[in-house]
């Protein structure tokens, strides 16, 4: 009788093992790896978004300076021409 009880318990153990550990599911460690990967992707997406914003701001700044440079060069040329005409 005790032998049959022992066999049943061993059977339960095997059944539980087959349903959990030995099933076709990723382990906790593998799930952690997947979650880390997801977090890394999210973080990279945010960094890219920030960099895009920074790039746009720099492009605007450069365009403004280009316009100022053009104006400055025109003013300078006009002034030089007028000064030459005076002398």
């Amino acid at each position: 009788m005790k032998k049959s009880v022992g066999l049943i318990l061993i059977g339960c153990g095997l059944l539980a093992g087959s349903l959990t550990g030995c099933s076709n599911k990723p382990s906790d460690e593998e799930m952690k790896q997947l979650n880390d990967l997801k977090a890394e992707v999210t973080s990279l997406e945010k960094s890219i978004s920030d960099a895009e914003v920074q790039k746009a701001a720099l492009l605007r700044s450069i365009a403004e300076k280009d316009a100022q440079l053009t104006q400055c060069a025109q003013d300078k040329d006009a002034l030089q021409a007028r000064l030459k005409s005076m002398h």
């Binding site: 339960c12 059944l15 349903l19 076709n24 895009e52 790039k55 104006q71 005076m86």
Partner: protein, 256 residues
Amino acid sequence: MNMIKKIIIAALVLTIATSVLSAQQQELTKEQWQQQVTELTAKRNDLKNTYNGLQKEVADLKNKDAEKSAALKQCQDDFAALQGQQEAPFKALSGNIDAKLNELSRLSNQDLYARRAELDSIQTWINAERQNPLSSIKSNEEKLNELQARLDALKKSLEQVIASGQAVQTYKVGTWAKDRDCLWNIAKKPKIYDNAFLWPKIWEGNRDQIKNPDIIHKGQILKIPQKADLTKTEKTALRRYWAKKNSAATAPAAKP
């Protein structure tokens, strides 16, 4: 025996519960997990490449921005040096115009009318400044435009003052002993008409307070009409005055 049955049932329940809980925690299959890991790894690598590329672009743009700043500063310095050659006289004159406009804009209507000739002088200054090479500089051009706008506003006020009749100049009569004030002498004053023969204008303009042009009193405030040739009425009044004078043969003709 019962005890053994209970143990077996408990073991079975525990086993099934563990399995169910375990199955709930891990919904993915191993294949799905593998697929997600593969996809995410590829995506991460793409994003890393994109990010690295962007960082390089941002670094390049920062350098370019710094170069533009330096070039702009250089241009502005060169420009300032050129400006410095002629800027002081330009600023001095535009400052004078500025001050004169401020002064005129604070005047009463009558005072503004009295000093209306100064508006023409300011216009001449502004026109002369526009010939200055520095007037082509944007900031100087803007300054001149601002001065011109203020002058135009003053001219417009003056026109309104003249149109409304508020522009009549006045003169406070002094004493004969001290000021030698009579209509003849008042008209002769440079600030009035600079022409003594225009005295009948003052008489006609002040008929309400001057009955006899030979008699004016200290402290009287006389209105001085605008300088112009004598009108028909004024000439008539003048003729009558002399006729009356000539008929009064007893006393020598006095100046009005």
